[in-house]
Symmetry: C3
Subunit: 153 residues, 3 copies
């Protein structure tokens, strides 16, 4: 069987970032989620731009700016500590496409695994994450994040 020139019915050929940018974005998420899961609220907030926004599924309006982001992460960490649980955010099925203004659109699935002391691990949530990433001083930062949950309309 040889490959034939056919026309795919409808999938538009999406532009894809070069491999080095893709690898950099993968590293970015691994580090960012590690900070979040370790309860390092300020460091995590620092992975957003100064006026970066984060629209979680639980709020009607986005949280904006590093102080508010850090405060949200601190509250979430305190809530988990009280429950005796650790969360692990897994980012997968990631696509990164360049936007006209030089930013990157990163779309992924995020699975959250909850681990209680003494076990067992438990599948907590699956979310869809859409980020606008920008590079500042050679470092990637989130300018805008919108997260939606699979179990809610």
């Amino acid at each position: 069987m040889t490959a034939q020139a056919v026309t795919a019915p409808s999938a538009p050929p999406a532009p894809t970032v070069p491999a080095d940018v893709y690898a950099e974005v993968q590293h970015f998420y691994a580090r960012q989620m590690r900070h979040l899961d370790a309860g390092e609220a300020e460091i995590w907030a620092g992975t957003f731009t100064e006026d970066g926004s984060f629209k979680p599924p639980s709020l009607p309006e986005p949280v904006r700016g590093r102080p508010a982001l850090a405060e949200g992460a601190r509250q979430a960490a305190a809530h988990l500590a009280a429950a005796g649980e650790t969360h692990r955010h897994w980012v997968g099925m990631l696509t990164v496409t360049p936007a006209d203004d030089g930013s990157l659109i990163a779309e992924s699935q995020v699975t959250i695994i909850a681990v209680a002391q003494g076990g067992p691990a438990r599948l907590h949530l699956v979310c869809a994450c859409r980020d606008v990433l920008v590079a500042e001083d050679g470092e990637l930062l989130v300018r805008e994040r919108v997260v939606t949950r699979d179990d809610r309309p």
Copy 2:
């Protein structure tokens, strides 16, 4: 401790595709599974070659050709909608090796997470996926897919 020249007992040094091809295949799967999970049956079928085949664990013979592939995806989507569930296919542990005829052999684990409206998320299945991928007009397509389930002999 310095690295010494030793001979690994049996692991053959498998050829690995360049990073840009690997990143392209990762994007391919993220987009293909997104179409499948969104119920976009025709677009999903268009990610196979015109005579592409898909051997799922549930059937004795492969499904062949885009119209049959799209019909199968439509039925699966209807079945899920009736059950009030969403599926998320996660591709991981991916290797891509070049074949002599210019195609790519992509082998991965695929975890399917089922999410009911209102939650919780649930681990549904783990499959092994072996794809033969070809490039047509600069776009990757599946020429042959064989999926096996871990919970069946």
Copy 3:
């Protein structure tokens, strides 16, 4: 909104390996875990250096050297076979950073999914894995592995 030059409060700019090295490490893990999950104990042990060490969460001291590593994998495979289960190791959230001596520090989350014959699949464990990888004759090998469990202090 334009990107502004801001200083992230505390995240140090971690050096990241080039994309081709990152892709090679991803392939390395996919193949290594495939060998482990298939019960190929000797081949798996051969993915460590001859004096490679592996500190699992269950032991106070690391296992050292390929014969001891292979023996541990054989025992684990026999234990699983007796239980009628298959394990699938998923490596994710991977960062790879170069060390001064030419080795690579690879840090990841590893999720273990247990699959019983007849199903269902079950989330077994989440671990953190820190590897020191070295290249010998062009092939990556683990020189040192330390694995910690999320559900234990």
